[in-house]
């Protein structure tokens, strides 16, 4: 059993009341940080820990913090990105609904480290119940003197607000999130300037994922070096993985990075294998945006090494034979799932969620969806496959924000690995549109 940092006490009892949380050593990091550490020392510890952003991109958190501009006379902000809307990802919701104080403690410590006196948690609008849980928890923290003026007599002031989003996926992009927080239309901004220089209300801002912020309190308590010992190589620490799809035990699991994919997928402790004794067909390892992998590339990399749950191992081989850890949305497909239908479904999502600001994404996502809809419903042509690849290539890298890439990758990878399935759909429209019909080719099964 690997070490658990964030979810260790979840399930023992209800951790929502602050007293229950404090019974398990909660808020000791706040005491330690505010009374005995300097902000710079905290940033140094987080740097040492090697903690990487858990929202999907995997950018080192400590590095991000050290980029924060500190001009005189301007406030600085910390914004927690809890707008978790990636299909297949539900880890932040799990953490916030079971242990809201883990996030709040992390917010206090991180805000102190960054010198922010006002911080926001931007929560996805659909998760209203989570917002209520967080607000109640924040009120308790205020009552205990852990938030507000002069926290624990240290002279440090912090106000923490929860901001419900409007339910737009695009507002999970950090600059769109800031626009939305300012009360504007959630359109991503052009970068540079980056939020570290000009973010919320044109002030220096750090935007971090829920999981990254929550991990900082453990780092304060135990030291960055201790954290760096967990995990493998540059993928330090633990990661929450939300596993779903055709597996026996769907749910959120905290794993030590470096666990093998095979163990995670088949061990009873985690996913428990493919449901109903079916065979594995494909896997999306990090939320719908990352490239899909066929069965033969899931447990082993292209050069035969065992694939591990880590940033490096999952992206081994680039996009040709690899994928990304992303946000940790682990979606498993068994042999009965249709890849064309799934790709169409993902594309439908991106078409619906594109903000419409820049042309490749606005028009391209809709185009891909329509073509995939046609193929799935038996009206495809052979040249549509190359058209999809070309459209995806024209979108990728040419948009303001990463939503364009996120829309293009699933399409590109699905065609790269499952081209024969697309061709089968086009060649056999009457068979492919029959209910429950799935293309089977034994070679792709592990």
């Amino acid at each position: 059993m690997g070490i658990k940092i964030l979810t260790e006490h979840i399930g023992k009892e209800d951790l929502k009341p602050i007293d229950a949380y404090m019974k398990y050593g909660g808020y000791t990091a706040v005491k330690k940080a505010l009374t005995s550490m300097s902000p710079d020392a905290i940033v140094e510890e987080v740097k040492k820990s090697g903690l990487r952003g858990r929202g999907g991109a995997g950018f080192p958190t400590g590095m991000k913090w050290s980029f924060l501009a500190k001009p005189e006379g301007k406030p600085r902000y910390l914004v927690c990105n809890a707008d978790e809307s990636e299909p297949g990802t539900f880890k932040d919701r799990y953490l916030m609904m079971h242990s809201p104080h883990t996030l709040i403690e992390g917010m206090i410590v991180s805000s102190f480290a960054l010198g922010a006196n006002t911080s926001y948690i931007y929560v996805r609008g659909e998760m209203m119940f989570v917002i209520r849980i967080l607000e109640k928890a924040i009120a308790e923290a205020y009552a205990k003197g852990l938030l507000g003026k002069n926290i624990l007599g240290s002279g440090y002031n912090l106000d923490l607000y929860v901001h419900p989003g409007g339910g737009a996926y695009i507002c999970g992009e950090e600059t769109a999130l800031l626009e939305s927080l300012e009360g504007k239309r959630g359109n991503p901004r052009n970068k540079p300037p980056f939020p570290a220089v000009s973010g919320l209300y044109a002030c220096p801002t750090v935007v971090n994922n829920v999981e990254s912020i929550a991990a900082t309190s453990w780092i304060i308590n135990n030291g960055g070096d201790e954290y760096a010992k967990i995990g493998i190589g540059k993928s330090t620490g633990t990661k929450l993985i939300s596993a779903c799809g055709n597996i026996n035990n769907p749910g959120v699991y905290e794993i030590e990075l470096g666990l093998s994919v095979e163990e995670f997928l088949y061990s009873d402790q985690y996913c428990g294998g493919i449901a109903n004794g079916k065979k594995l067909k494909a896997l999306v390892a990090g939320g719908s945006s990352v490239p899909i992998l066929p069965a033969n590339l899931i447990t082993k990399t292209a050069n035969g090494e065992s694939r591990l749950m880590s940033y490096e191992s999952l992206s081994d081989g680039g996009f040709a034979t690899g994928t990304m850890l992303g946000s940790g949305g682990f979606i498993v497909f068994d042999e009965d799932q249709c890849i064309v239908r799934n790709t169409w479904n993902f594309t439908r999502f991106y078409h619906h969620e594109s903000c419409g600001q820049c042309s490749p994404c606005r028009e391209g996502t809709g185009w891909m969806e329509k073509v995939l809809h046609r193929i799935e419903h038996g009206h495809g042509h052979m040249h549509d496959i190359d058209l999809l690849v070309d459209v995806a290539k024209k979108i990728e890298g040419n948009t303001i924000c990463p939503l364009g890439d996120a829309a293009a990758w699933p399409v590109g990878s699905a065609i790269r690995h499952f081209r024969d399935e697309f061709e089968w759909h086009i060649k056999n429209p009457s068979e492919a549109t029959r209910k429950g019909a799935v293309y089977r080719k034994e070679a792709v099964f592990a």
Partner: protein, 355 residues
């Protein structure tokens, strides 16, 4: 004495060196060299703050970031909002990737565009026409249904054709920066995003007419000029008047047909941009020659279709040649396995003016 002259940055665009002031964007630097290297711009508008970065038409390749840090930038960058660094090397028309991406942008902008140029008032001075003409692929791959919108009345002077809109946001910035109160904006998201006043509220303020001038396509057109005349049959004349409105420059272009002034617009420069805006009184109410002090005939230099009241003849064969050359090559290099007895297909280039 200390040298107080500002340090100039040396930038190389398409192998042409130019010296510009710090803070200049790549697009502006390229425009200083000339129109043959300047990237196209569909959403950027020099006189409106905050525009740019949206249409992706002006993407260029930066092969060296600066003299200090000569690493290339990993992605193509929007030249309209990327500022130059000393020693930067930019590739625009000489880079295949840039040209290919631009083709893609044209295609994206056109897939939901109605292509109703024959009945569109903007035809002949449309930036999208120019852009597609100069950078597009000339054929269409989109087979799906185009998205359409309900027609909406936004006011007495301006006709909104949302189907033609490319969502450049220029009119939003115009209303924000020139008028006292913006009453229209972008609703919804994705390809269903639309310019709208939401409650069909009439746009009525003294500077709203400038939205027509900034619109790169025929989405916002002049109701007083609607279906009156094709622009290439009208004769542009520069003129001015002392306008009582303090923010109005009073400098305009009058578009004549015979003795009649059919419409009044702001003066557009080489890049199709108005730098001095005019008020609605000048635009919509002063349509007599006696209202104006005539300066002389105006030259329309930027546009390929309308140019000094006649078609630019050379543009068409060049475009055709490019197309023909590509097609010809494809046929020639066709690696087909022909059945026995059949002959290889032959491509023929025909010039439109060949005898």
């Amino acid at each position: 004495m200390e040298n107080t002259a500002p340090q100039l940055f040396k930038v190389t665009i398409d192998n042409i060196e130019v010296e510009v002031a710090p803070g200049t964007t790549i697009l502006q630097a390229a425009r200083q060299i000339g129109s043959h290297v300047a990237p196209p711009a569909m959403c950027y508008y020099t006189s409106l703050k905050g525009t740019g970065g949206k249409c992706r038409a002006c993407l260029v390749k930066v092969t060296a970031g600066s003299a200090k840090d000569p690493r290339p930038m990993p992605k193509l960058v929007p030249s309209c909002i990327t500022t130059v660094q000393d020693g930067m090397i930019v590739e625009n028309t000489v880079n295949e990737q840039v040209l290919e991406t631009r083709k893609g942008v044209v295609e994206f902008l056109l897939i939901n565009h109605p292509l109703d140029c024959p009945i569109c008032d903007q035809a002949g001075e449309c930036h999208l026409q120019d852009f597609a003409f100069e950078h597009g692929r000339g054929t269409q791959r989109y087979e799906e249904e185009r998205r359409t919108f309900e027609r909406e009345d936004i006011g007495p002077y301006i006709q909104l054709h949302m189907n033609r809109c490319i969502l450049c946001y220029r009119c939003v910035f115009t209303a924000e920066q020139l008028t006292n109160k913006r009453v229209h904006g972008v609703l919804n998201r994705g390809d269903h995003a639309e310019i709208s006043t939401y409650i069909s509220k009439a746009i009525d303020n003294d500077f709203s007419g400038n939205m027509i001038d900034v619109c790169p396509v025929g989405a916002l057109t002049d109701k007083t000029f609607r279906f009156k005349q094709r622009v290439w049959f009208t004769k542009p004349v520069t003129a001015h008047r002392d306008c009582e409105h303090e923010k109005c420059s009073g400098k305009v272009t009058l578009w004549y047909k015979g003795e009649d002034v059919l419409r009044v617009t702001g003066r557009k420069n080489e890049w199709g941009e108005v730098t001095e805006f005019i008020c609605n009184t000048c635009r919509f109410d002063k349509k007599k020659t006696s209202d104006w002090v005539i300066e002389g005939p105006a030259k329309v230099s930027h546009h390929s279709v309308i140019s000094a009241n006649h078609y630019e003849k050379k543009a068409i064969p060049e475009f055709g040649f490019k197309q023909a050359a590509q097609q010809y090559k494809q046929i020639d290099d066709l690696p087909v396995q022909l059945p026995e007895g059949e002959k290889k297909p032959v491509g023929i280039v025909v010039r439109p003016d060949s005898k």
